[in-house]
């Protein structure tokens, strides 16, 4: 369902070319839950931007749902984002002074869903993340975990082909982080939601079915996890000593 063929992204810094991604080949099937791991500067953010159609590759072919998207123009990309991609960010990125329900409705607004249908879909998404009783609260009245759940509801509201999460637990404490991972696992298991989860935390990555490791814009490993961790499993001691952040 997601096919990356020889994806290369080159940035120019003055005279030098920087290969943010260097001939990446990846296939992700529908319903998979994949972690993309790597240290800072490994190209995982660039990869997420390309997967999420926020950016286009310099070279290579990217097919999303069988449709090549690397040649699309700005407006066509915006349409793909609004219909096929759901983003969850480390910083939540909720609109301030706008309540949870309205935040969740935002993608529907840009996709031309009107009136009652819009409200119903947003309420359903909030119910999925367990925030029905909080839908009229503003972000500053919600805890970090609740804010991230609103952001997840916003990402889900358009029934996206791919749910992209960029360090969604990075700004949360461990317990809340476990809840968020649990939520992603539940979405994956119950609804068969495809999830691509970017992190540099190996412990968190082990909650997924497959880990793709990037270093210097190249894939160095792509392994299946036979038994993903269940959310709430305590962190091993050594991981606590050297926190990934």
């Amino acid at each position: 369902m997601i096919e990356l063929e020889n994806i290369t992204k080159i940035y120019r810094l003055g005279q030098t070319k920087v290969f943010a991604l260097d001939s990446i080949n990846v296939n992700i099937e529908a319903g998979e839950m994949v972690a993309i791991m790597g240290p800072s500067g490994s190209g995982k953010s660039t990869m997420m931007a390309i997967l999420g159609c926020l950016d286009v590759p310099t070279k290579g072919v990217y097919r999303l749902d069988g449709e090549p998207v690397e040649k699309l123009n700005e407006n066509q990309l915006a349409q793909i984002r609004s219909q096929k991609v759901g983003f969850v960010f480390q910083q939540f990125n909720l609109l301030p002074r706008t309540n949870a329900l309205e935040n969740v409705m935002l993608p529907l607004l840009y996709d031309g869903v009107h009136g009652k249908a819009r409200v119903e879909k947003a309420k359903a998404a909030l119910a999925t993340v367990g925030l029905t009783d909080r839908m009229h609260h503003h972000p500053n009245q919600l805890s970090g975990g609740e804010q991230q759940r609103v952001a997840i509801a916003r990402a889900l509201v358009n029934d996206p082909t791919i749910l992209l999460a960029d360090e969604p637990t990075g700004n949360l404490d461990t317990k809340t982080g476990d809840e968020i991972i649990g939520l992603f696992q539940r979405l994956h298991e119950d609804k068969g939601q495809t999830v691509v989860y970017v992190t540099h935390d190996a412990f968190i990555a082990r909650h997924t079915q497959r880990i793709i490791r990037l270093v210097d814009g190249k894939i160095i490993s792509d392994e299946k996890i036979a038994h993903p961790l269940v959310a709430g499993t305590p962190r091993p001691e050594e991981a606590l000593d050297t926190p990934a952040m």
């Binding site: 990125n93 607004l109 996709d111």
Partner: protein
């Protein structure tokens, strides 16, 4: 994504920062208020002058002897307007409803011990109708008064109160250069036109004036002369035709060729009016232009704030794009924000400007006139300012790349 939703988003963004939105609007408010107030004052002045001039009488044409006309090789000489000219004009000119000859001279007017110098005008019965005078009391000078050379006088309202200081002048006797006259009528007030008060007139029968008052000064080359002749054309369309008929008769009777300079001025009220209104219109446009500059400055203020706002909301713009907002939607959102600021500011400015105009009217200085077109012009001009100064910040917002905007700290 329809326009209503876009407007709602913009309103919310503006409401989120009320103080800033208010201060931004202030520039537009002051600009629009200045335009509306100054234009209303200008329009009021124009209307004032127009109504005063129209008060002189409708479709009025005035003939008078031009002063200091130099004829080639003859030196300074004034060609007098003769009483016979009036008789010819009255007989021959078509499309007039009234012809009123006058002779004007200074005289000492006295009631009891109250004496002053007045200009005393000899008139015929048609004078009141042609010059649009009405009476508050008594009667006007009649044809009989002229033929009988009666010693009767009609006073302008100001002249009446100056001489009689509160007493009812009707039926009382006053003296003009020592000759007794009886007051038979008082004119209604007409107000002043510039330098000349129409309420300070003292009117006597023209023939009485020739026989008893003006003496030799009114005689030139053995003929009786006139100061001016007023005519009332049958309609405004007839005015120019009446003027050319009069000029023809005057040239013929004074043995002038077409190339000679006519030693008389024949003017219509509409000519005088158009001169005056062109002056006041220029003044009004000038005032409006000055006020327009402040509106322009207000527009620059809006652009400044919107640029800051775009910078401040970079992440918000990035997020909106990430969840599917097209470039055009972001562009529209920010343009609607600036137009909203300028339109709300414009409406408040119009109300404020109209209020200022109203206060100016209340002070009695000038009767202002808040016309609909001025309101509409300033409203659309304010909207245009918003659009013009909103495009660049909106373009900046729309051009942000979502991936960079999301990372912006």
């Amino acid at each position: 994504m329809n326009i209503i939703e876009n407007i709602r988003i913009s309103f919310r963004a503006l409401a989120a920062n009320k103080l800033r939105s208010g201060l931004t609007m202030l520039g537009i408010i002051i600009g629009v208020a200045a335009v509306v107030a100054l234009m209303s004052i200008g329009r009021g002045a124009t209307r004032n002058i127009t109504s005063r001039v129209e008060g002189l009488g409708s479709n009025l044409v005035a003939v008078s002897a031009a002063r200091n006309v130099r004829q080639a090789g003859v030196g300074a000489q004034t060609t007098p307007l003769y009483y016979s000219d009036y008789q010819q004009i009255a007989r021959e000119v078509n499309n007039v409803v009234g012809v009123a000859p006058t002779y004007q001279a200074g005289a000492r007017v006295m009631y009891g011990t109250n004496a002053s110098q007045f200009s005393v005008t000899g008139v015929t019965s048609q004078f009141a109708a042609v010059n649009a005078y009405t009476l508050t009391e008594g009667r006007f000078i009649s044809d009989y008064d002229n033929s009988a050379e009666s010693r009767v006088v009609v006073l302008g309202s100001q002249a009446a109160s100056d001489l009689f200081s509160g007493l009812n002048p009707l039926g009382r006797q006053l003296t003009i250069n020592g000759i007794n006259f009886t007051v038979v009528g008082i004119l209604a007030s007409k107000g002043s036109t510039g330098f000349f008060s129409q309420d300070e007139v003292i009117l006597i029968p023209l023939q009485t004036g020739y026989a008893r008052l003006y003496g030799g000064t009114a005689i030139s080359n053995g003929q009786r002369t006139l100061s001016s002749i007023s005519l009332s054309a049958a309609s405004s369309n007839a005015v120019s035709e009446v003027i050319s008929q009069i000029e023809y008769i005057l040239r013929r009777d004074h043995q002038l060729t077409l190339t000679d300079t006519l030693p008389f001025t024949v003017t219509s009220q509409s000519q005088a009016l158009s001169t005056l209104t062109s002056i006041t219109s220029t003044l009004t446009a000038f005032l409006g232009a000055i006020a327009g500059i402040s509106l322009f400055v207000g527009g620059i203020g809006i652009m400044n704030i919107m640029l800051v706002s775009v910078r401040e909301r970079t992440r918000e713009i990035g997020l909106r794009k990430a969840v599917g907002a097209r470039r055009s939607v972001i562009l529209l959102q920010f343009i609607v924000e600036t137009i909203t600021l300028s339109l709300v500011g414009g409406i408040i400015g119009i109300l404020l400007g109209a209020g200022i105009a109203g206060i100016v009217t209340l002070t009695g200085l000038i009767t202002t006139y808040v016309s609909l077109d001025v309101i509409l012009y300033s409203f659309f001009f304010a909207a245009l300012v918003g659009l013009f100064f909103g495009i660049y910040p909106a373009y900046q917002a729309a051009s942000l790349r979502p991936i960079e905007a999301l990372r912006y700290e």
